[in-house]
């Protein structure tokens, strides 16, 4: 059935209102304060560490984001762990909250398509996340320049920006997940818990589950050494279902120019390689391109799922 009018009418209005709501909400302020404190803490620790050890490292700036000093983890792993929380806080009551406030039927009675509501909510969330991430990134870079007294090189900035873009996509996955739960589940508290459970499973328990599952799927045969490899590959394939693992691999590759591979490497493949020599930025991106596509696909899939459910949902809930 062909319908007149653009499904995008009103998207901008809804996105901007959504973003303004997030920017002024106490929920967002609290969680960004948490992120900011942990980020500042980890970068501060990293700066201390860099000063002590590797004053001659060629990629000093990226080290800011990846160096960990006990007991603090690195900035990159902190983000991988905390950003889903930010995204969930933004999205968990996106749709069911509107029903709860009884505003949904009134909004849908305005001359816009339903498509605009969900898409506007997603875009509004992404806008807020993009602003927050950019601010965070600039703050950390600024802190680095001040404390280390070194300007970042062009390659540093390039890799940093690529990392920023991927981080946004990674956060988008969790925003889409939270919105999907808020569409399927009627009560905000339940949808928040559901999204948080998925976050816990993927960021903490997944690394415990995968070795076990892999040993069941492809068991070791003591007489055949290749089974060792196939078990490892199974485990890695399973681990990559988790967006946190994908994001971890991407940030490792982007922020450490010396790394060459995210999978097992054979001795024969290392022949002729200059170990420790940095890769060009584009080559690094090329290696983790499948991971980036995977994250993007996950975001699109989750959003589409939410979209399909939302389009078929009855207005009177």
């Amino acid at each position: 059935m062909k319908r007149e009018g653009s499904p995008l009418k009103g998207v901008g209005t809804i996105a901007i209102k959504e973003a303004a709501d997030h920017m002024t909400s106490a929920r967002m302020h609290l969680i960004m304060l948490l992120v900011l404190l942990t980020a500042a803490g980890s970068v501060w620790a990293a700066i201390g560490q860099i000063r002590v050890t590797t004053a001659e490292d060629p990629f000093l700036f990226l080290k800011l984001l990846t160096t960990a000093r006990d007991p603090l983890p690195s900035f990159a792993s902190f983000l991988g762990f905390l950003l889903p929380l930010v995204a969930i806080a933004l999205g968990f009551d996106g749709i069911n909250g509107e029903f709860g406030k009884r505003t949904m039927s009134r909004i849908l009675a305005q001359p816009i398509y339903r498509d605009a509501v969900l898409f506007g909510k997603f875009l509004g969330g992404m806008l807020v996340l993009a602003i927050a991430l950019l601010t965070l990134w600039l703050l950390m870079v600024g802190l680095g320049i001040l404390m280390l007294g070194l300007p970042p090189s062009g390659a540093d900035v390039g890799r940093g920006l690529a990392y920023l873009a991927v981080t946004l996509v990674y956060t988008g996955v969790w925003l889409a997940l939270a919105l999907a739960f808020s569409t399927v589940i009627k009560t905000p508290a339940t949808s928040a818990l559901a999204a948080l459970s998925v976050w816990l499973v993927f960021s903490i328990f997944w690394s415990m589950i995968t070795p076990f599952a892999a040993s069941v799927i492809s068991p070791l045969d003591p007489t055949n050494p290749m089974t060792l490899l196939s078990q490892y590959e199974t485990q890695q394939a399973l681990a990559r279902i988790s967006p946190s693992v994908l994001y971890g691999e991407i940030s490792q590759m982007l922020l450490d120019p010396a790394s060459r591979s995210v999978g097992p490497v054979f001795m024969s493949q290392l022949q002729g390689a200059l170990v420790g020599a940095p890769l060009p930025t584009l080559q690094s991106i090329l290696i983790i391109w499948p991971q980036i596509s995977g994250l993007f696909a996950a975001m699109v899939l989750l959003f589409t799922g939410a979209y399909v459910v939302f389009q078929r949902q009855e207005v009177r809930a």
């Binding site: 009018g5 209102k17 009884r102 001359p111 207005v315």
Partner: protein, 311 residues
């Protein structure tokens, strides 16, 4: 007669196996106020949502201002305003900001929207509270803000679902006054309610819903006619005369029964003149002689009694 504003033919809505709306036909002309009456779960709200295109009918067809709400939803929705049951606004925004948001969704330019919003708020007497957060509004104020939204958008049709539920009598009166003004301005109004006196006081026609069907559409008088066969109800009180005996010879009297202070007579025509004459001639002192057709609530009760006997 102008072309119908809303036309619905054979609307059916099924959820799984249960049929919520089962073959509803409605026609509305411009400036009419139609009251949808019926018990909870009779299918009123579902019918409204189908008229708006917010729910897809399982069968049947709707035309709103000559357009199909499923094919041209944006045009239909810009001409039709909907005030849902217990309307919700964003509590953290002010009344004015809430209206500004819907004005932007409707695609008005900001300057025009601002003047329209100010005028609409003024008309529903919310100017003083316009810059307060909606969270502080009373229920009546929210409903009025909902009406202001329709005014601001200048819709040609207003569909109001239970607009007066949960309001105190004064707010109800205020709201009804506003709705009356809208209809005087040529707006076509559909209103659903359980409150019969509300419906009777402002609706030109009523539609009685029962189990997903429209049992009756027409004026309140026609409804009374149908359920009571057009009978007159006459209350008589007289001292010193036995009305029960006096009435014996009169034609077209269906029923006479004493009701405490006097008598209640049901007759097929207005027999007051003859009755008064007889009482006076018999030397009685006539204290009360009151004829009325059934009120909407009596008719409503009679209607649903009949329907449930049939079932």
């Amino acid at each position: 007669m102008s072309e119908p504003v809303i036309e619905a033919h054979g609307l059916v809505k099924r959820y799984g196996k249960s049929t919520v709306v089962d073959g509803v036909d409605l026609t509305l002309t411009e400036g009419e106020v139609l009251g949808l009456l019926g018990p909870n779960g009779a299918g009123k709200t579902t019918t409204i949502l189908m008229l708006l295109g917010l729910t897809e009918p399982s069968a049947g067809e709707v035309r709103v201002l000559g357009r199909n709400p499923l094919r041209e939803p944006l045009k239909v929705k810009s001409d039709v305003g909907y005030l849902p049951d217990a309307v919700g606004f964003y509590d953290t925004l002010t009344g004015r900001e809430n209206l500004m948001f819907t004005a932007r969704l409707g695609g008005f330019n900001p300057a025009e929207a601002r003047t329209r919003i100010a005028a609409a708020l003024d008309r529903v007497h919310l100017s003083a509270a316009a810059d307060r957060r909606v969270g502080t509004y009373s229920r009546g104020m929210r409903q009025r803000l909902g009406l202001a939204e329709l005014l601001m958008r200048e819709t040609r049709v207003a569909i109001l679902d239970e607009p007066t539920s949960g309001l105190d009598p004064q707010s109800t009166d205020e709201l009804l006054g506003l709705i009356r003004e809208f209809s005087a301005d040529g707006m076509t109004v559909i209103l659903s309610s359980h409150l019969l006196d509300v419906v009777q006081s402002i609706c030109t026609r009523v539609a009685l819903f029962n189990r997903g069907r429209v049992g009756f559409v027409g004026t309140v008088e026609a409804l009374a006619q149908q359920v009571t066969d057009g009978a007159f109800h006459i209350d008589v009180a007289a001292d010193g005369a036995d009305v029960g005996a006096l009435i014996g010879g009169l034609e077209d009297v269906n029923q006479v029964k004493p009701d405490g202070t006097g008598w209640h007579i049901t007759a097929a025509r207005d027999i007051r003149a003859e009755l008064a004459k007889r009482i006076v001639e018999a030397g009685g002192a006539l204290k009360n002689l009151d004829a009325h057709r059934v009120s909407l609530s009596e008719a409503y009760n009679l209607f649903f009694k009949e329907v449930s006997h049939e079932a």
